[in-house]
Symmetry: C2
């Protein structure tokens, strides 16, 4: 049904594009975190009124979750894509080097929505904090599996511990997000990434 998107809707036409609005929400949450972004700021940036936002996205939490999905499948798609690299070294290289570029990109907020979007927060926002922690854990688990495969393929020494190596890389990545959010330069992050890569694998 190619004409399914041309079919005329019944009532008053929407004056905004939900996908565009979702991207705006992603930018704001990315820059200021969950608690640091208010509904008023969101609707102002989107150019719509609050009832439209709630009709389209349900609640602030739901909007954040959708913006987070957008973020994961868009700006940081390279993270999960890195796991497809052919060797452990290439995986880690892509993760660290592309992150160094990404975290200091001039047109986007410095830092990572997953790592710094909600670390400390009030008790009523614990759900969001949990969601982001799960995101980080999922990545670390996937990286562990990838390094186990590398070990099985003889791509990583037998005495290496994939879980500890994965935690090492994940920890570095999270630290890089904090660094970027504090204004560290791209060059400094790249130099540090090179240092880590020149000593891969550490075991």
């Amino acid at each position: 049904m190619t004409n399914s998107e041309i079919k005329k809707s019944r009532g008053r036409p929407s004056k905004f594009d939900p996908e565009t609005s979702l991207n705006i929400a992603m930018q704001l949450f990315w820059a200021h975190g969950y608690e640091g972004t208010s509904i008023a700021e969101l609707t102002n940036a989107m150019g719509i009124n609050k009832p439209s936002l709630y009709a389209a996205f349900g609640s602030k939490e739901e909007l954040f979750e959708k913006a987070l999905q957008q973020y994961i499948s868009g700006p940081i798609a390279f993270i999960s894509a890195a796991l497809d690299e052919p060797t452990a070294y290439r995986v880690v290289e892509k993760l660290l080097v592309e992150s160094a570029y990404f975290l200091t990109a001039p047109d986007t907020p410095h830092g990572c929505m997953v790592n710094t979007g909600s670390l400390s927060c009030g008790k009523e926002t614990a759900t969001i904090k949990e969601t982001l922690a799960q995101c980080r854990q999922r990545f670390e688990t996937a990286l562990t599996a990838r390094l186990q495969r590398a070990q099985a393929e003889g791509d990583l020494p037998a005495q290496a511990d994939p879980a500890t190596l994965a935690k090492y890389i994940a920890t570095l990545h999270q630290g890089m997000s904090v660094q970027a959010a504090s204004g560290t330069s791209r060059e400094a992050l790249l130099a540090m990434a090179k240092l880590v890569l020149d000593n891969w694998p550490p075991c």
Copy 2:
């Protein structure tokens, strides 16, 4: 004047100890960050009313700054103390291993007030974010100087770059704070610290 603290004050006596209250504030800010801790929560935990808090500490920002000083000179005094260790290895060892224990201590919030107290926030809280970023930068700068000294003392290879090494350790430390705030176990952090130390210095 040993009797200076016994001299009787003129008006109605204070019913709370400001130092105790400051420690309570430190615990709350440590656990939930600046924005995640409200004045109402602070006064409830202290057992005092708001005017008493404002009379004693000025404002929420001033209270946070004082709690931060308390935190730096108390719970994480080991951080600056680590720089006094005799060798670069011992410095890094103390930093990473003691941090692994500290960040996962059962009686205190998991995580570090300096690293996760305010990473992303609303525009009006940018001052606090700046203050914490400066704290982190001061530490990294001091560590760089310490590693330069180590290099001068022949304690670090000539081709090593102290600034990059310091950023590497600082980044790992910040990442460990994120990990701890997400619930990573002490054992996992210690295993990672060992991995890093077994490969020191990376150059």
